[in-house]
Protein backbone atom coordinates (compact mmCIF):
# COMPACT_ATOMS: atom_id res chain seq x y z
CA UNK A 1 0.00 0.00 0.00
CA UNK A 2 1.64 3.15 -1.15
CA UNK A 3 0.86 6.66 0.02
CA UNK A 4 0.07 6.73 3.71
CA UNK A 5 -3.39 8.23 4.14
CA UNK A 6 -3.29 11.51 6.01
CA UNK A 7 -6.10 12.54 8.23
CA UNK A 8 -7.29 16.05 7.51
CA UNK A 9 -9.92 18.33 8.95
CA UNK A 10 -10.96 18.36 12.55
CA UNK A 11 -9.03 15.25 13.45
CA UNK A 12 -11.42 12.96 11.53
CA UNK A 13 -11.70 11.58 8.04
CA UNK A 14 -11.94 13.98 5.09
CA UNK A 15 -15.35 12.67 4.04
CA UNK A 16 -17.45 11.01 6.67
CA UNK A 17 -20.88 9.52 6.24
CA UNK A 18 -22.88 8.41 9.22
CA UNK A 19 -26.11 6.45 9.30
CA UNK A 20 -27.00 7.24 5.69
CA UNK A 21 -30.46 6.08 4.67
CA UNK A 22 -31.96 6.69 1.26
CA UNK A 23 -35.21 5.26 -0.07
CA UNK A 24 -36.62 5.39 -3.58
CA UNK A 25 -40.26 4.55 -3.03
CA UNK A 26 -40.26 1.07 -1.54
CA UNK A 27 -36.63 0.42 -2.51
CA UNK A 28 -34.14 0.95 0.27
CA UNK A 29 -30.97 1.98 -1.55
CA UNK A 30 -28.96 2.91 1.54
CA UNK A 31 -29.71 1.46 4.94
CA UNK A 32 -27.93 3.26 7.76
CA UNK A 33 -24.54 3.13 6.10
CA UNK A 34 -21.48 4.55 7.87
CA UNK A 35 -18.20 5.18 6.06
CA UNK A 36 -15.13 7.36 6.45
CA UNK A 37 -12.68 8.31 3.72
CA UNK A 38 -9.30 9.60 4.82
CA UNK A 39 -7.55 12.41 3.00
CA UNK A 40 -5.30 11.14 0.20
CA UNK A 41 -6.87 7.71 0.37
CA UNK A 42 -7.93 5.81 -2.72
CA UNK A 43 -11.04 3.88 -1.80
CA UNK A 44 -12.79 1.32 -3.96
CA UNK A 45 -16.51 0.62 -3.50
CA UNK A 46 -17.38 -2.93 -4.56
CA UNK A 47 -20.60 -4.84 -4.40
CA UNK A 48 -23.30 -6.49 -6.43
CA UNK A 49 -25.53 -4.62 -8.82
CA UNK A 50 -28.23 -2.55 -7.13
CA UNK A 51 -26.49 -2.63 -3.75
CA UNK A 52 -26.45 1.17 -3.54
CA UNK A 53 -22.92 2.08 -4.61
CA UNK A 54 -23.92 4.83 -7.01
CA UNK A 55 -26.43 6.19 -4.54
CA UNK A 56 -23.75 6.29 -1.87
CA UNK A 57 -21.37 8.09 -4.19
CA UNK A 58 -23.95 10.72 -5.09
CA UNK A 59 -24.75 11.24 -1.41
CA UNK A 60 -21.06 11.62 -0.53
CA UNK A 61 -20.67 14.21 -3.29
CA UNK A 62 -23.66 16.22 -2.09
CA UNK A 63 -25.59 15.66 -5.30
CA UNK A 64 -28.24 13.54 -3.63
CA UNK A 65 -29.59 14.35 -0.21
CA UNK A 66 -29.99 11.30 2.05
CA UNK A 67 -33.31 10.79 3.85
CA UNK A 68 -31.48 10.59 7.13
CA UNK A 69 -27.92 10.54 8.36
CA UNK A 70 -25.23 13.08 7.65
CA UNK A 71 -22.33 13.47 5.27
CA UNK A 72 -19.52 15.61 6.60
CA UNK A 73 -16.78 17.09 4.47
CA UNK A 74 -13.86 18.40 6.54
CA UNK A 75 -16.12 18.02 9.53
CA UNK A 76 -18.88 20.18 8.09
CA UNK A 77 -22.28 18.68 7.37
CA UNK A 78 -23.32 18.97 3.72
CA UNK A 79 -26.97 19.19 4.75
CA UNK A 80 -26.22 22.50 6.51
CA UNK A 81 -24.93 24.04 3.31
CA UNK A 82 -27.04 26.14 0.96
CA UNK A 83 -27.33 24.96 -2.63
CA UNK A 84 -25.03 27.74 -3.83
CA UNK A 85 -22.37 26.76 -1.30
CA UNK A 86 -22.68 23.10 -2.29
CA UNK A 87 -22.40 24.02 -5.96
CA UNK A 88 -19.27 26.01 -5.19
CA UNK A 89 -17.87 23.12 -3.15
CA UNK A 90 -18.42 20.68 -6.00
CA UNK A 91 -16.80 23.10 -8.40
CA UNK A 92 -13.72 23.85 -6.34
CA UNK A 93 -13.08 20.72 -4.27
CA UNK A 94 -14.66 17.77 -6.12
CA UNK A 95 -14.10 16.15 -9.48
CA UNK A 96 -16.35 13.62 -11.19
CA UNK A 97 -15.91 10.81 -13.68
CA UNK A 98 -18.88 8.68 -14.75
CA UNK A 99 -19.22 5.64 -16.92
CA UNK A 100 -20.28 7.58 -20.04
CA UNK A 101 -22.22 10.50 -21.39
CA UNK A 102 -20.73 13.23 -19.25
CA UNK A 103 -19.11 15.46 -21.84
CA UNK A 104 -21.19 18.30 -23.19
CA UNK A 105 -21.67 17.19 -26.79
CA UNK A 106 -21.71 20.70 -28.19
CA UNK A 107 -18.28 21.58 -26.85
CA UNK A 108 -14.89 20.42 -28.08
CA UNK A 109 -12.62 18.29 -25.88
CA UNK A 110 -10.51 21.26 -24.82
CA UNK A 111 -13.57 23.32 -24.03
CA UNK A 112 -15.04 20.48 -21.99
CA UNK A 113 -11.84 20.07 -19.99
CA UNK A 114 -11.42 23.78 -19.39
CA UNK A 115 -15.03 24.09 -18.23
CA UNK A 116 -14.41 23.64 -14.46
CA UNK A 117 -11.69 26.31 -14.54
CA UNK A 118 -13.90 28.68 -16.47
CA UNK A 119 -16.78 27.99 -14.12
CA UNK A 120 -14.58 29.12 -11.24
CA UNK A 121 -13.81 32.30 -13.11
CA UNK A 122 -10.52 31.65 -14.87
CA UNK A 123 -9.78 33.36 -18.17
CA UNK A 124 -10.74 31.21 -21.11
CA UNK A 125 -7.39 31.40 -22.91
CA UNK A 126 -5.46 30.35 -19.84
CA UNK A 127 -7.93 27.62 -18.96
CA UNK A 128 -7.75 26.12 -22.43
CA UNK A 129 -3.96 26.23 -22.36
CA UNK A 130 -3.93 24.19 -19.17
CA UNK A 131 -6.58 21.88 -20.57
CA UNK A 132 -4.46 21.20 -23.63
CA UNK A 133 -1.42 20.48 -21.45
CA UNK A 134 -3.43 17.95 -19.46
CA UNK A 135 -4.84 16.35 -22.62
CA UNK A 136 -1.27 15.99 -23.86
CA UNK A 137 -0.37 14.24 -20.64
CA UNK A 138 -3.30 11.87 -21.15
CA UNK A 139 -2.20 11.35 -24.77
CA UNK A 140 -5.36 12.64 -26.42
CA UNK A 141 -4.10 16.04 -27.53
CA UNK A 142 -4.88 15.10 -31.15
CA UNK A 143 -8.59 15.02 -30.25
CA UNK A 144 -8.48 18.41 -28.59
CA UNK A 145 -10.59 20.21 -31.19
CA UNK A 146 -13.08 17.39 -31.67
CA UNK A 147 -16.49 16.85 -30.17
CA UNK A 148 -17.70 13.70 -28.36
CA UNK A 149 -19.28 12.35 -31.53
CA UNK A 150 -15.87 12.29 -33.15
CA UNK A 151 -14.14 10.40 -30.34
CA UNK A 152 -13.92 6.76 -29.32
CA UNK A 153 -15.27 5.76 -25.91
CA UNK A 154 -11.75 5.47 -24.53
CA UNK A 155 -10.75 8.87 -25.82
CA UNK A 156 -13.91 10.45 -24.44
CA UNK A 157 -13.20 8.81 -21.08
CA UNK A 158 -9.68 10.21 -20.99
CA UNK A 159 -11.09 13.63 -21.74
CA UNK A 160 -13.52 13.11 -18.85
CA UNK A 161 -10.61 12.17 -16.57
CA UNK A 162 -8.81 15.31 -17.66
CA UNK A 163 -11.88 17.35 -16.81
CA UNK A 164 -12.08 15.77 -13.37
CA UNK A 165 -8.40 16.48 -12.73
CA UNK A 166 -7.99 19.94 -14.14
CA UNK A 167 -9.26 21.98 -11.22
CA UNK A 168 -6.94 19.97 -8.91
CA UNK A 169 -9.83 18.84 -6.75
CA UNK A 170 -9.39 17.46 -3.24
CA UNK A 171 -11.70 14.52 -3.92
CA UNK A 172 -12.50 12.70 -7.14
CA UNK A 173 -15.70 10.67 -7.31
CA UNK A 174 -15.64 8.06 -10.03
CA UNK A 175 -18.60 5.79 -10.84
CA UNK A 176 -17.47 2.86 -12.97
CA UNK A 177 -15.13 5.05 -14.99
CA UNK A 178 -13.89 2.05 -16.94
CA UNK A 179 -17.23 0.29 -17.24
CA UNK A 180 -17.61 0.89 -20.95
CA UNK A 181 -13.98 0.41 -21.95
CA UNK A 182 -11.96 -2.59 -23.03
CA UNK A 183 -9.31 -3.96 -20.66
CA UNK A 184 -6.41 -2.03 -22.12
CA UNK A 185 -8.24 1.30 -22.22
CA UNK A 186 -9.61 0.61 -18.76
CA UNK A 187 -6.08 0.02 -17.44
CA UNK A 188 -4.76 3.11 -19.17
CA UNK A 189 -7.55 5.36 -17.91
CA UNK A 190 -7.26 4.02 -14.36
CA UNK A 191 -3.48 4.30 -14.47
CA UNK A 192 -3.67 7.91 -15.59
CA UNK A 193 -6.34 8.83 -13.07
CA UNK A 194 -4.57 7.23 -10.13
CA UNK A 195 -1.08 8.34 -11.07
CA UNK A 196 -2.33 11.92 -11.20
CA UNK A 197 -4.23 11.44 -7.95
CA UNK A 198 -1.25 9.99 -6.07
CA UNK A 199 1.03 12.66 -7.42
CA UNK A 200 -1.20 15.35 -5.94
CA UNK A 201 -2.43 13.50 -2.88
CA UNK A 202 -6.00 13.56 -4.19
CA UNK A 203 -8.59 11.46 -2.44
CA UNK A 204 -10.44 9.12 -4.80
CA UNK A 205 -13.71 7.30 -4.21
CA UNK A 206 -14.09 4.73 -6.94
CA UNK A 207 -17.09 2.54 -7.72
CA UNK A 208 -16.23 -0.55 -9.74
CA UNK A 209 -17.28 -4.09 -10.49
CA UNK A 210 -13.84 -5.23 -11.50
CA UNK A 211 -11.51 -6.52 -8.77
CA UNK A 212 -8.58 -5.73 -11.05
CA UNK A 213 -9.56 -2.05 -11.00
CA UNK A 214 -10.25 -2.23 -7.27
CA UNK A 215 -6.70 -3.47 -6.80
CA UNK A 216 -5.49 0.01 -7.69
CA UNK A 217 -7.05 1.31 -4.49
CA UNK A 218 -5.55 1.52 -1.02
CA UNK A 219 -8.65 0.04 0.55
CA UNK A 220 -11.79 -1.77 -0.57
CA UNK A 221 -15.23 -1.51 0.91
CA UNK A 222 -17.98 -3.90 -0.11
CA UNK A 223 -21.51 -2.48 -0.19
CA UNK A 224 -24.25 -5.03 0.21
CA UNK A 225 -27.96 -4.21 0.55
CA UNK A 226 -27.20 -0.57 1.33
CA UNK A 227 -24.71 -1.37 4.08
CA UNK A 228 -20.98 -2.01 4.37
CA UNK A 229 -20.34 -5.75 4.37
CA UNK A 230 -18.45 -6.66 7.52
CA UNK A 231 -16.76 -9.83 6.23
CA UNK A 232 -14.77 -7.83 3.77
CA UNK A 233 -12.76 -5.79 6.22
CA UNK A 234 -9.19 -6.37 5.20
CA UNK A 235 -6.92 -7.38 8.08
Amino acid sequence: MSGTPTIEGAGGPLVHAEGLTKRFGATVALDGLTLGVAGGEILALLGPSGSGKSTLLLCLAGILRPDSGTVRYRGQALSDMADAVLTCLRREEFGFVFQFGQLVPDLTAVENVSLPLQLSGQKRGLAEERALALLTKLEVEDRAGKRVGEMSGGQAQRVAVARALIAEPKVIFADEPTGSLDSLNGEVVMGLLLAAARERGTTVVLVTHEPRIAAYADREVVVRDGRISQHAVVP
Binding site: S2, L46, G191, P211, A215, S229, H231, A232, P235
Partner: protein, 178 residues
Protein backbone atom coordinates in the same frame (compact mmCIF):
# COMPACT_ATOMS: atom_id res chain seq x y z
CA UNK B 1 3.72 -23.70 -18.38
CA UNK B 2 6.27 -26.15 -19.68
CA UNK B 3 9.67 -25.51 -18.10
CA UNK B 4 11.45 -27.16 -21.01
CA UNK B 5 9.94 -24.86 -23.51
CA UNK B 6 10.60 -21.83 -21.34
CA UNK B 7 14.29 -22.79 -21.18
CA UNK B 8 14.41 -23.31 -24.93
CA UNK B 9 12.93 -19.80 -25.35
CA UNK B 10 15.60 -18.32 -23.10
CA UNK B 11 18.37 -20.07 -25.04
CA UNK B 12 17.19 -18.91 -28.39
CA UNK B 13 19.10 -15.60 -28.57
CA UNK B 14 22.41 -16.90 -27.15
CA UNK B 15 23.94 -19.83 -25.26
CA UNK B 16 23.73 -19.60 -21.47
CA UNK B 17 24.94 -21.38 -18.33
CA UNK B 18 22.50 -23.35 -16.19
CA UNK B 19 22.56 -20.91 -13.24
CA UNK B 20 21.98 -17.99 -15.58
CA UNK B 21 18.94 -19.79 -17.01
CA UNK B 22 17.46 -20.25 -13.54
CA UNK B 23 17.76 -16.56 -12.63
CA UNK B 24 16.41 -15.44 -15.97
CA UNK B 25 13.45 -17.79 -15.64
CA UNK B 26 12.64 -16.44 -12.20
CA UNK B 27 12.81 -12.91 -13.48
CA UNK B 28 10.57 -13.44 -16.49
CA UNK B 29 8.11 -16.16 -15.53
CA UNK B 30 8.55 -16.87 -11.86
CA UNK B 31 5.98 -14.38 -10.69
CA UNK B 32 4.03 -16.88 -8.65
CA UNK B 33 6.77 -19.28 -7.67
CA UNK B 34 10.48 -19.54 -8.39
CA UNK B 35 12.00 -22.63 -9.99
CA UNK B 36 14.52 -24.84 -8.22
CA UNK B 37 18.04 -25.50 -9.53
CA UNK B 38 17.41 -29.21 -9.53
CA UNK B 39 14.36 -28.80 -11.73
CA UNK B 40 16.38 -26.74 -14.21
CA UNK B 41 19.18 -29.31 -14.42
CA UNK B 42 16.91 -32.35 -14.80
CA UNK B 43 15.00 -30.54 -17.50
CA UNK B 44 18.23 -29.57 -19.29
CA UNK B 45 19.39 -33.21 -19.11
CA UNK B 46 16.11 -34.30 -20.74
CA UNK B 47 16.48 -31.68 -23.49
CA UNK B 48 20.09 -32.84 -24.07
CA UNK B 49 18.94 -36.42 -24.31
CA UNK B 50 16.25 -35.51 -26.85
CA UNK B 51 18.78 -33.55 -28.91
CA UNK B 52 16.98 -30.22 -28.46
CA UNK B 53 20.01 -28.57 -26.80
CA UNK B 54 23.70 -29.14 -27.05
CA UNK B 55 26.73 -28.25 -24.95
CA UNK B 56 28.76 -25.65 -26.80
CA UNK B 57 31.61 -25.33 -24.32
CA UNK B 58 32.75 -26.58 -20.91
CA UNK B 59 34.81 -24.12 -18.92
CA UNK B 60 37.55 -25.57 -16.76
CA UNK B 61 37.68 -24.68 -13.11
CA UNK B 62 35.55 -27.38 -11.53
CA UNK B 63 31.92 -27.45 -10.40
CA UNK B 64 28.99 -28.98 -12.27
CA UNK B 65 27.59 -25.75 -13.67
CA UNK B 66 30.39 -24.75 -15.96
CA UNK B 67 28.61 -26.08 -19.05
CA UNK B 68 27.40 -23.57 -21.65
CA UNK B 69 24.12 -24.76 -23.23
CA UNK B 70 23.01 -23.87 -26.77
CA UNK B 71 19.81 -24.61 -28.70
CA UNK B 72 19.93 -27.05 -31.66
CA UNK B 73 17.96 -26.68 -34.94
CA UNK B 74 15.68 -29.47 -33.66
CA UNK B 75 15.22 -27.44 -30.52
CA UNK B 76 14.19 -24.35 -32.50
CA UNK B 77 11.69 -26.41 -34.50
CA UNK B 78 10.19 -27.90 -31.33
CA UNK B 79 9.91 -24.45 -29.69
CA UNK B 80 8.17 -23.07 -32.76
CA UNK B 81 5.71 -25.94 -32.80
CA UNK B 82 4.89 -25.38 -29.15
CA UNK B 83 4.39 -21.63 -29.63
CA UNK B 84 1.80 -21.99 -32.37
CA UNK B 85 0.00 -24.87 -30.65
CA UNK B 86 -2.89 -23.46 -28.45
CA UNK B 87 -2.47 -24.05 -24.75
CA UNK B 88 -5.22 -26.09 -23.11
CA UNK B 89 -7.00 -24.04 -20.35
CA UNK B 90 -4.91 -24.57 -17.27
CA UNK B 91 -6.30 -25.27 -13.86
CA UNK B 92 -2.77 -25.54 -12.53
CA UNK B 93 -2.61 -24.41 -8.98
CA UNK B 94 -6.31 -23.65 -8.83
CA UNK B 95 -7.57 -27.09 -7.99
CA UNK B 96 -6.96 -26.30 -4.34
CA UNK B 97 -9.02 -23.09 -4.51
CA UNK B 98 -11.74 -24.89 -6.41
CA UNK B 99 -11.93 -27.64 -3.86
CA UNK B 100 -11.93 -25.17 -1.01
CA UNK B 101 -14.72 -22.94 -2.38
CA UNK B 102 -16.88 -25.86 -3.42
CA UNK B 103 -16.52 -27.48 -0.04
CA UNK B 104 -17.20 -24.13 1.69
CA UNK B 105 -20.34 -23.45 -0.30
CA UNK B 106 -21.64 -26.98 -0.05
CA UNK B 107 -21.08 -27.00 3.67
CA UNK B 108 -23.72 -24.24 3.94
CA UNK B 109 -21.55 -21.22 4.72
CA UNK B 110 -22.97 -17.92 3.35
CA UNK B 111 -21.79 -17.34 -0.20
CA UNK B 112 -21.30 -13.62 0.45
CA UNK B 113 -18.91 -14.38 3.23
CA UNK B 114 -16.93 -16.91 1.22
CA UNK B 115 -16.68 -14.43 -1.62
CA UNK B 116 -15.79 -11.46 0.53
CA UNK B 117 -13.11 -13.33 2.47
CA UNK B 118 -11.62 -14.84 -0.63
CA UNK B 119 -11.73 -11.47 -2.37
CA UNK B 120 -10.00 -9.79 0.51
CA UNK B 121 -7.24 -12.36 0.32
CA UNK B 122 -7.03 -12.17 -3.44
CA UNK B 123 -6.99 -8.39 -3.39
CA UNK B 124 -3.95 -8.30 -1.14
CA UNK B 125 -2.08 -10.26 -3.78
CA UNK B 126 -3.65 -8.29 -6.61
CA UNK B 127 -2.61 -5.01 -5.05
CA UNK B 128 0.96 -6.27 -4.80
CA UNK B 129 0.88 -7.29 -8.43
CA UNK B 130 -0.61 -3.95 -9.48
CA UNK B 131 2.11 -2.10 -7.62
CA UNK B 132 4.79 -4.20 -9.22
CA UNK B 133 3.17 -3.68 -12.61
CA UNK B 134 3.12 0.07 -12.22
CA UNK B 135 6.74 0.13 -11.13
CA UNK B 136 8.18 -2.35 -13.64
CA UNK B 137 8.65 -2.56 -17.39
CA UNK B 138 6.44 -4.04 -20.08
CA UNK B 139 7.61 -7.61 -19.54
CA UNK B 140 6.78 -7.30 -15.86
CA UNK B 141 3.38 -5.86 -16.75
CA UNK B 142 2.62 -8.82 -19.00
CA UNK B 143 3.46 -11.27 -16.27
CA UNK B 144 1.55 -9.36 -13.64
CA UNK B 145 -1.50 -8.95 -15.86
CA UNK B 146 -1.49 -12.64 -16.57
CA UNK B 147 -1.84 -13.43 -12.95
CA UNK B 148 -4.16 -10.51 -12.20
CA UNK B 149 -6.65 -11.62 -14.81
CA UNK B 150 -6.58 -15.15 -13.51
CA UNK B 151 -7.16 -13.99 -9.99
CA UNK B 152 -10.00 -11.83 -11.16
CA UNK B 153 -11.45 -14.82 -12.98
CA UNK B 154 -11.29 -16.77 -9.71
CA UNK B 155 -13.28 -14.06 -7.97
CA UNK B 156 -15.85 -13.84 -10.74
CA UNK B 157 -16.26 -17.57 -10.62
CA UNK B 158 -16.71 -17.53 -6.86
CA UNK B 159 -19.25 -14.74 -7.20
CA UNK B 160 -21.23 -16.69 -9.77
CA UNK B 161 -20.93 -19.95 -7.92
CA UNK B 162 -22.08 -18.27 -4.72
CA UNK B 163 -25.11 -16.79 -6.45
CA UNK B 164 -26.00 -20.12 -7.99
CA UNK B 165 -25.78 -21.89 -4.70
CA UNK B 166 -27.85 -19.19 -3.01
CA UNK B 167 -30.47 -19.57 -5.69
CA UNK B 168 -30.55 -23.28 -5.20
CA UNK B 169 -31.23 -22.65 -1.52
CA UNK B 170 -33.97 -20.06 -1.96
CA UNK B 171 -35.20 -19.91 -5.52
CA UNK B 172 -36.79 -16.64 -6.76
CA UNK B 173 -35.76 -14.45 -3.86
CA UNK B 174 -32.43 -13.62 -5.37
CA UNK B 175 -31.22 -13.07 -8.91
CA UNK B 176 -27.89 -13.91 -10.35
CA UNK B 177 -25.82 -10.74 -10.29
CA UNK B 178 -25.35 -9.52 -13.85
Amino acid sequence: MSLGHALLGLLEDRPRHGYELKHLYDERFGVSQSVKFGQVYTTLARLLRDGLVDISAVESGGGPDRKLYMITPEGVADLEHWLIDPQPPSTFGRSVLFAKVVIALMSGRPADEVLDLQRAAHLVRMRELTERKLAGDAIDALACDFELFHLEADLRWIELAGARVERLRSPRTRDVPE
